[in-house]
Structures are given as structure tokens and as C-alpha cells.
Symmetry: C2
Subunit: 327 residues, 2 copies
């Protein structure tokens, strides 16, 4: 049954999107050509863009409420890795005629929900037609004190390597959605799917951490540590046995459905992986406790290049793929 027909662009903006911009004066009510964003005194702006496409990053039947939150959260995860506080975002929607008002209404409600959760407001946008799949682009804008971002290039040899939360769950969730038999109890299967569907950006942790270098886990743990290595001109030694795993991941390992390499190279976990000097380990623990996010030390930055992974018997694990790539 088709829903309410979609009104024109201006009505859509007024009815669904302008309310999302009410708390950001620089959005000018979405009535102008652009938004005005003045960082607070002593802050600079941090900006990141991400695009997600129907059939690639989400499925046509996925709830629009969750698609909106995923779109926002993958960007917020980039801000988290920079240690930034969310401020505003711009939204670019390319949607086919078949997308009806109800879909857009639920999409806008997903945005509204996460705006409250993460303290961010819509500042501008653009809606256009497409003859293809839904294509959604979002630019997130955050604020930070100059010099405070844990840049990927800022790691030093000897620093500890940490990761938040657990790793590999999103990859498990994607396999479960594709119908693979993973030998998981129903609850663990659902938890893994939820991790794939809806990232949890580690914003509080990112703002609290005294990290030297950080990146969010989107390409896969090993690939993303590799980004820090490449940018810092260093290598890393990772202890696979120290990498924190969820109950679902341990079950899937136990049943033989996956290998540890699948978990270490699976993408879309959106945890933070970061480095810090050894003498900051207490400060790291305190920051993690304040942010209420578990953090585990998984290795050490080294001279050289590339990421070497070792099992608990100190045997090197071959990593035959750098991580998930979107193409």
C-alpha cells in the first residue's frame, strides 16, 4: 500500500528537516544558501564526510530510522577518532521517486533521536532525485582545541596500542544477515547483527583519552592499525590473544565458523584503536572508566613498518588480507 505522496522539496524541508535545525542558529532555519558556523572561542572545526548507498551499506528493507542513525554515526565515529565534540552536520539526500513521505518521516525521526543522544544539530542539506538506489551523504562538523587531536601520524615507537570495546562483531553480524551458519545462540546472533546495523561512536571516550594517535575501526582492526603505522612511519606488534572479543565472537571461534583472522580483519566495528606512551596507562584507564567504555591494551608500536600479529604461543599469524574495502 503506497503511503502519503511525497510533497515538494520546500515542504519536505519545512515539515521534516527544519525542526532538526532549530537548535543551531547558524543553520538559518535551512532557509538560506549555506550555514554559518563560528567555532566557540579557542576551538577549531573538525569535518568528515561519508556516503552510504542502498544495497551496499544498507538493505532496501532496513528501517529508515536505523539507516539515518547509521549514516550519522559512521561520521560521528570519525569525529570520535579526532577527539572532537559534535557540533552540526550537513545532509545530502539523493532519493528515487519510490521513496515516500513515511520513509522520509521515519528517516528524519532517526536523525532527531540521535541528535538528542549525541548533541548535534542539522545545519544544512540538499535533496535531489536519483534514478538509482538511495545515496546518502553526510558531513559532520565537530569542535576541538587546536593541537588536541590524536592524529594518525603522531604515534611513537614503544607506545602501547589499545582498542575499545570488542572487535569483529560487525563482520559476524553481516555474515549472519547473509544467512551463514555461525553456530551462535540466538541472543549472540542478534547482538552481532545489531553491531553491524548500528555503530556506537565512541565520542565520550575520544574526548577523554590522552592518546597520541587514534583511528576508528572501519576497514578492520589490522588495516586501521596499519593506517597509524603508515602515517607515523612505524610498525606495530599486536597480540591476538589480547584482542577483546564478545561472547558471539568467542562462540563463532569455538564452533570453527570463523578464524581469529576473520575477526581481526572484519570492518565496521567503529571502535577506537589508539596509541599512548606507557606512562599514560593509568590516565587511559581513568578516561575509559569515565567514558564507561572498556579499553584493552593489545600491542606495541615498533620501529619498522607494517602490522605483525602474534598468537599466545608467540607464533606469527599470517594476515592475508588488509581489511574490508568498499571497492
Amino acid at each position: 500500500m503506497p503511503g502519503r505522496p511525497r510533497p515538494g522539496e520546500f515542504e519536505l524541508i519545512r515539515e521534516l528537516f527544519a525542526p532538526l535545525a532549530a537548535d543551531e542558529p547558524g543553520a538559518l532555519g535551512l532557509l538560506d544558501d549555506a550555514a554559518l558556523i563560528a567555532p566557540r572561542p579557542g576551538r577549531e572545526l573538525v569535518t568528515a564526510i561519508d556516503t552510504i548507498v542502498e544495497g551496499v551499506h544498507f538493505l532496501p528493507a532496513d528501517p529508515p530510522f536505523d539507516i539515518a542513525r547509521k549514516l550519522l554515526r559512521v561520521n560521528l565515529s570519525d569525529l570520535a577518532a579526532m577527539g572532537a565534540r559534535p557540533r552540526a552536520y550537513l545532509l545530502g539526500l539523493a532519493i528515487p521517486d519510490a521513496v515516500d513521505f513515511d520513509w522520509l518521516r521515519h528517516f528524519s525521526r532517526g536523525l532527531a533521536s540521535d541528535q538528542l543522544r549525541f548533541g548535534i544539530s542539522l545545519a544544512g542539506g540538499d535533496t535531489t532525485a536519483t534514478t538509482g538506489p538511495i545515496c546518502l551523504s553526510l558531513t559532520a562538523i565537530g569542535e576541538i582545541e587546536p593541537g588536541r587531536s590524536p592524529l594518525r601520524s603522531n604515534a611513537a615507537a614503544g607506545e602501547h596500542v589499545y582498542v575499545s570495546g570488542t572487535v569483529g562483531d560487525a563482520a559476524l553480524g553481516l555474515r549472519a544477515l547473509r544467512g551463514e551458519e555461525l553456530g551462535l545462540p540466538a541472543g549472540e546472533r542478534e547482538a552481532a547483527i545489531a553491531r553491524y546495523r548500528l555503530p556506537e561512536p565512541r565520542l565520550d571516550l575520544g574526548m577523554a583519552l590522552p592518546a597520541s594517535a587514534a583511528v576508528d575501526v572501519s576497514d578492520g582492526l589490522i588495516a586501521d592499525i596499519g593506517h597509524i603505522c603508515a602515517a607515523s612511519g612505524l610498525g606495530a606488534r599486536i597480540e591476538a590473544g589480547r584482542v577483546p572479543l564478545s561472547g558471539a565472537a568467542r562462540s563463532a571461534l569455538g564452533s570453527g565458523a570463523v578464524e581469529i583472522v576473520d575477526l581481526l580483519t572484519g570492518g565496521d566495528d567503529y571502535e577506537l584503536v589508539f596509541t599512548a606512551p606507557a606512562d599514560r596507562s593509568d590516565a587511559i584507564r581513568e578516561a575509559a572508566a569515565r567514558a564507561r567504555v572498556p579499553v584493552a591494551r593489545i600491542g606495541t608500536m615498533t620501529e619498522g613498518e607494517g602490522v605483525s600479529v602474534f598468537d599466545p604461543a608467540n607464533a606469527r599469524i599470517a594476515i592475508d588480507r588488509a581489511g574490508y574495502r568498499h571497492f
Copy 2:
């Protein structure tokens, strides 16, 4: 004949896109999670997003060099309407597998060319796969002194209404591309098509103008003046005979292929329409001369609401459509 196969995302970034970010230190070489943008002292940032889609805003056979420039320029036109100076941009590319390296190379060269022309640098981006048409999103970031933007809401009754350049050419160009017989000499036909294919953002004019309110002509002259009216709670009286027309537009009017209403409501001209008090008319003329862009007074802001259009005999012209809408 297929071109060079497309390398992976990281190679593409290194080879084609990182060079476009060389002049913006905050881009961090496109190696990090986000870009750091500190406005210069005494400035705030102006941001706008636009999305263009293959088959909707450009044709599959269009040269990627021009597609890149169109994508950048439609955004720069928004900055022009805010009176801002271009600073940096973020790029979101959703591209199907069939797009080869050569296409992307020419696309990146188009960006490089316009970066030099308009003084802007790439600061960040995201490349992803799509199963549908090419979907390109760009967020432009400019700088301006706080309070200097000619907001749409800032017009006053009695102010003069001006427009830059000529109006209606892009709509003519689109008709010509669709094969309509417009009775145009070849040179005028080509000029109209060029206006449709490649906007000329009025950045120098936007920065120079002492305007109260401004908007760029993207939905159509009358619709865009209507945006100023709605935001300012006013009406406007427009003299159709004063609206500046190109040779092509005059030819098409003369041959009866189009009516004046078609030109006044055609979209995508990317001229600036703006208002200013009568006592600033000399300053407007001087700013236009400095920017080397012709500017014509076409009407007056009034009490009331809506845009009323009159012919040279002072008879009201019925406008039966508010302007081009993308959906």
C-alpha cells in the same frame, strides 16, 4: 575499449586526490579520519552541501572534467550568495564499478583546474561503491566576517532588486541538449549549452557587494526572489522588461520558441539576485565594475507577499510555475 583498471581506494586517494589537498594543511594529507579547519582570525565558516546524480544533473557521456567543475561550482555559487571567500571542500563519491581510472583521472583534473581558478583546496573525502548511477556530493567551506552575509531574511521594503549577468540561458541550453528547435544561430546555441553545462559562480561579485539579501539563481529567477520574499516577510515587484537577456535568449524569444515566463522561471543560471537600499546604487555599480560582472536593477521589494511580474506596458504577467524543482 576499457581503460586502466581502477586501483583500490587508498591508491586512488594517494594518486589522484591527495595532490588536490596539498595546499590545505588541515586536510592532513587525506590520511586521517577528518580534516581540521580553523577559520582565520575574525572569520567564521560558511558551509553548503550539494549532490549531483548521473542522468539527473549530468549525462553519462558528459566529460568528467566538466562534471567535476559543475559539482564544485554549484556549491561555490552558494558561497557566493553568502558573500564568502572559498576555503576548502569535502568530496563524497559513490561510483559504480564501470567507472575506470581514466574517468577518475579526468574528474580529478577538473577539480584541480577549478581549485586554481577559485582558490580552494580539497580537505577530505570518501569514496564508495554503488550499483546505481554516479552520485557525487560536495560540501564547500568558505570564510566570512561575522554579520557580513546578505541573508535571505534581511531584505527591507523599498529596496532595489538586482540580478547579475543574464537569465534563462541554462534553461535554453537544457532544451537545446534535449533536441528542441529553438531557432538559434549555432554560436548562440552553443553559448546556452555552455551556460547549462558549466555555471560561473559569482564569487568576486558576492564578496564585493554591499547587498542586504542575496540568493543564487538555481530554482529560477522568480522562485529564488520568492525565497527572499518568504524569508523577509515581504513581496517583490519585478519589471520583466528590465531582466537582462543574452543574445540567445532574445533570439529564442524572437522566434517564438520560448516565452519570457520560460526564461524567468528557468533554473540553474547561478547568477546572483540581491537587494540593497536605493542609496547604495552607486556602491552596487562600483562593486559590479570591480568584479567585472554586469548587474541590472530589475525591481523593488514591497510590503505584502509573493513576486509580481509586470511587462513594459505595466500589465501583470501570470507566473504559473514557481520554478524548476529537482523533484
